[in-house]
């Protein structure tokens, strides 16, 4: 593999934001210069973006689409372990680098407006920089353990940013929940790392790929390793059944949701599966698991999105659903299909969140029942939100169309059942997205504040993202993206910009999407159907969905509190204080009691003791005398 030169700037891609974090935290914060903090953070990520672009072009011009840098020793213990801190510079990395730096840059510019005046302004930008650095490190790491390091660090940043407004108990709770639930997934990931290490003695990703390809790593072990890794991805990407943390994570500031909980960190699970894809490839069981969990999650989350009244929660379930699509794409197709949707989704979903944040800025609420009529008041926000919605629904020729069609097309070939689930999800997606559009922007304003369009610093990033939400999908119109990622024949389900419409499947999905939009229009805009009546008619279903299938209750109240904390752990504590420590104290008490009784023999009369000593001596003398 070709060594890129100079290699220093490549390291700077993730070091720049890291330096920004340290500078803001240690130097700027004591000076109390909020503006400066945000500029440092933005300049750092701008630098990373520039370097990533440079890397992209270097990679495009290299024949293998893969470069390398000399790695550093990180954890080396004799012959027992050798963990290298190196970087993988392949097409997958560079795609992720572009996504992360672009979205991070735009979100941070937007945050300058959104977070203005917040007492935690420094902390916000410091953590955003740390997150960006960790995320960039995650996508570049060449060793599975180093990847895990960054994997945990993005989780940590997510924890700190969800709990950014820590005075709010809901935010503090959500942060804790997010960390612990994802840790369950990480347990699988860690277990997979342990198995891999004990089987192969290395954690270098390229070597692992080689071992899997050579068949050294195979059979049941490989399947279990793949499933363990996937478990990590399930936790991070909010897949069923570890999806419960993501909706709650909306307690964080909205730009955080846009960057971390929509575009990048939650997609890290998808990235991980893609990164370790050569392992999955050799295990049909693992691939089927990925596809099934993805397909089920897609429709499962979409159903819940239909009934939420909080605009961010709808978007959160939508994210879970779209991540399900990506998993499905990985499971049935390959790296390209999943990552292509990740790529497009990052832009339009970040935009949706930023628009929702803009709406929140104007109305002071996330509750859609107190919005409405914002179309006229906030034209830019409306326009960008509409574009993003059409994109996520998959309307030709917007970005979402191209990747979603790929997923549908490939799943139809291999897993028809999952295809039908995905197709129904298209309908559901269209419905809940346009439910937001009509409730928020259509009709009359129902709140009691005076809304206004957001400032330019917030609108401009949204417009840029809108452009991307329209056009990001066009990179694969002729299979260019697939060729770049797949190192070979470019593939696209239908050739050409208009050629796509020649495909019957495209029409099928357009019909489903239009149906969803029409139903939302009928209920929430034209009001031909009463939402209230439908709710009453299908009350059990509504109850099931609005209570999120009671998963939170099952996990928190029954499993964690009911069984573990209040019974099992409380029992152990009782055992510890009464059983173990009780035994210790009982032994001590017994000794004391024996002493209390036996010390009565000691009268304390020294002269009596002397008497006994003399008598004893006499007895000994006599005994010696008589025995001779």
């Amino acid at each position: 593999m070709e060594v890129i030169s100079p290699s220093g700037p490549v390291w700077l891609i993730f070091l720049l934001p890291l330096i920004a974090f340290a500078v803001i935290f240690l130097l700027i914060k004591p000076l109390n210069k909020p503006k400066l903090a945000s500029f440092i953070s933005i300049i750092a990520v701008l630098g990373s973006l520039a370097l990533s672009t440079w890397l992209l072009f270097s990679l495009l011009s290299s024949p293998e689409h893969e470069l390398t840098v000399p790695s550093l020793n990180w954890l080396v213990v004799g012959g027992a372990i050798n963990i290298q801190f190196g970087l993988i510079l392949d097409s997958l990395t560079v795609v992720m680098l572009m996504v992360v730096t672009v979205v991070s840059l735009l979100v941070q510019i937007y945050s300058q407006g959104y977070m203005r005046g917040d007492p935690g302004y420094h902390r916000y930008f410091a953590l955003m920089s740390l997150f960006t650095a960790s995320m960039l490190g995650l996508v570049m790491a060449s060793d599975l353990l180093v990847l895990f390091v960054f994997w945990e660090l993005v989780g940590l940043c997510s924890y700190l940013l969800i709990g950014f407004w820590f005075q709010r108990p809901a935010a503090a709770n959500a942060a804790k929940k997010a960390f612990i639930v994802t840790r369950f997934g990480d347990l699988g990931f860690l277990a997979a790392i342990l198995v891999l290490f004990s089987q192969t003695g290395t954690l270098d990703i390229a070597q692992l790929h080689g071992l899997a390809a050579a068949g050294v790593l195979g059979g049941a072990v490989l399947t279990w390793v793949a499933i363990g890794i996937f478990l990590g991805a399930v936790g991070k990407s909010g897949q069923f059944p570890l999806h419960v943390w993501l909706p709650d994570a909306m307690e964080g500031p909205t730009p955080v949701s846009a960057l971390i909980h929509a575009a990048t960190m939650v997609a890290a699970g998808v990235f991980l599966v893609a990164r370790m894809y050569p392992l999955f490839e050799h295990s049909p069981t693992a691939l089927l698991t990925v596809a099934t969990i993805g397909g089920v999650t897609a429709i499962f989350a979409a159903t819940m999105a239909m009934v939420m009244t909080d605009i961010k929660r709808v978007l959160a379930y939508s994210t879970i659903s779209q991540l399900g699509y990506m998993m499905l794409g990985l499971g049935v197709g390959g790296i390209t299909i999943g990552i292509f949707h990740l790529f497009n989704h990052a832009f339009f979903k970040a935009l949706l969140f930023l628009s929702a944040g803009s709406v929140n800025h104007a109305t002071g609420t996330f509750d859609m029942r107190r919005m409405g009529g914002l179309k006229r008041i906030m034209p830019w926000t409306y326009a960008t939100f509409l574009v993003a919605s059409l994109s996520i629904v998959g309307i030709w020729p917007l970005a979402g169309f191209w990747s979603k069609e790929e997923i549908l097309a490939t799943s139809l070939e291999s897993q028809p059942l999952l295809f039908y689930l995905a197709l129904i999800t298209v309908f559901l997606t269209a419905f809940y997205m346009f439910r937001i559009v009509f409730l928020t922007f259509g009709g009359q304003y129902r709140g009691d504040t005076k809304p206004h369009e957001s400032s330019r610093v917030m609108v401009i990033p949204m417009v840029v993202l809108a452009v991307l939400a329209v056009g990001s999908g066009w990179v694969n119109v002729t299979g260019g993206f697939d060729q770049f990622l797949g190192h070979g024949e470019g593939h696209s389900f239908a050739q050409g910009f208009f050629g796509a419409l020649a495909h019957p499947l495209a029409w099928l999905s357009q019909v489903f999407a239009a149906g969803g939009i029409f139903l939302a229009y009928a209920i929430y805009s034209a009001r031909w159907l009463s939402a209230e009546r439908i709710r009453r008619r299908f009350f059990p279903v509504y109850k099931l969905l609005s209570n999120k299938y009671w998963f939170d209750e099952l996990y928190e109240n029954i499993l964690v509190r009911g069984i573990l904390l209040n019974r099992f752990f409380a029992g152990l504590k009782f055992f510890d204080s009464r059983g173990v420590d009780g035994a210790v104290n009982r032994i001590a008490d017994t000794v004391v009691t024996v002493g209390q009784t036996s010390r009565k023999v000691q009268t304390g009369q020294l002269q009596l003791y002397g008497m006994f000593i003399v008598l004893g001596i006499l007895a000994i003398i006599l005994a010696m005398y008589f025995t001779g």
């Binding site: 010390r599 000691q602 009268t603 304390g604 009369q605 020294l606 002269q607 003399v614």
Partner: protein
């Protein structure tokens, strides 16, 4: 009649027994202390006597005795000091009444 080793030993035994009786039977701390001194001196007599009659050339016993006397003097000093201290606090030197540390 010449004085032999036996005479000294008998004297020593008599003195020791008197001291022992005093130490074990009397209640006054001062008398107990005096009795202990008598026992100590009884031992000293025995030491010197043995030294004189058993190994006449050497002065081992005498040296021992000097040590013993010095130690005895130190002991009396400390002992009396303690007794005086106790008397000042408790106005008694009856050993059966000094039972502060008894259970």
């Amino acid at each position: 009649m010449t004085l032999g080793l036996e005479h000294y030993l008998v004297l020593s035994v008599v003195l020791f027994s008197i001291g022992l009786y005093g130490a074990l039977a009397r209640r006054s701390a001062v008398i107990i202390l005096m009795s202990i001194e008598i026992m100590l001196n009884a031992a000293n007599i025995a030491l010197v006597a043995f030294s004189r009659y058993v190994v006449p050339g050497l002065l081992t016993g005498q040296v021992f005795t000097i040590f013993s006397i010095v130690v005895g003097a130190a002991e009396v000093t400390v002992g009396l000091a303690i007794i005086i201290a106790i008397y000042r606090r408790r106005e008694t030197i009856d050993v059966t009444k000094i039972n502060l540390m008894k259970w």
